[in-house]
Amino acid sequence: MMQFAIWIENTEFFAYIRGSGYEFPVLLSLHLVGLAFFAGLILITDMRLLGWGLKGHSIATVVNATRWPKRIGFVWVAGCGFILGMSKAEGYFLNTFFQIKMMLFACVLIHALVFRPTVYNHPEELDKAPAIPGRAKLAAGLSLFLWLAILTMGRSIGYMGSPSGLHYSQLLKTILTLGRS
């Protein structure tokens, strides 16, 4: 895994992003702008599923209308995040907060796999129920929690560097040199 991280961050494109003056902060800003715009759509969907807003409108109209904009927002945020992550892959792969953020992303995927068949792909059935089903409220609550946790972990990444004094690319080079000799 670390060999992959060292290789990818040293490819021409990612090395350029890492060493650039303003490209990195511009990408970071675009990552956060996408996240903020994307957050509004998640908020609207989750609020409707929890019954906290837009009660005068069916769940189906809210869920169906925000589906594609949310997907576009996700690609935007994940695309910028991928470039940022790979440009400093070695440091990030060793960062505990980055590791937790990636685990939370895995939880988002599991959340989608679990709740899409019963909640998001059949919102019309939720409208037919006399009250909003518990599984829909659970899906919305977990979604809010996961995205806030991802945001929290994302910001925390900057407060933890790689383990002090141990730079893995240097360590790998030393091992390779020793192996050759």
Binding site: A36, G40, L43, R155
Partner: protein, 147 residues
């Protein structure tokens, strides 16, 4: 008697405040952006802009208050650095303009459910200003030069 600022005395206070600051902005901007996207016709919902705004306005205000108050606390950690930093000044200018816009012209347009060219221009301006606030915040750490 000189009292130490607790933000500088305890290393966890600054990152925790910053997380609240970013989460607050995320909620506030997200709530406003949804309404702006609706005005621009990029969010194909049947709800009118005013209905969307009604549903998200409390979240917007709550997020904004969290962002402002946590931001004020963050500012006290190193006021000299912040008020001499161009990026911070641009962020503050954009923030003041967008808050004034949001509670004046933007509010009128949302209430009228207009999707005319003028309404779309205001929605674009609102999105651009909120994006500038984020850019300004990020660039504080990358711009060393100041006034």
């Amino acid at each position: 008697m000189l009292i130490d600022n607790p933000i500088n005395s305890y290393e966890l206070v600054f990152p925790i405040l910053e997380i609240f600051h970013i989460a607050g902005f995320g909620v506030a901007i997200g709530a406003t952006a949804a309404v702006d996207f609706r005005i621009l016709g990029l969010l194909p919902v049947e709800q009118t802009p005013s209905e969307l705004s009604k549903a998200t306005s409390r979240w917007m205000l709550g997020g904004l208050l969290v962002a402002i108050f946590s931001g004020m606390e963050l500012y006290t950690s190193d006021p000299d650095m912040y008020y001499l930093n161009w990026s911070f000044l641009i962020k503050m200018m954009c923030l003041i303009v967008v808050i004034v816009l949001n509670y004046t012209l933007h509010r009128k347009i949302v209430a009228s459910n207009s999707t005319s060219g003028g309404a779309k221009a205001v929605a674009c301006l609102s999105l651009a200003l909120w994006a500038s606030v984020i850019f300004g915040g990020i660039f504080i750490a990358f711009i060393r030069g100041g006034l």
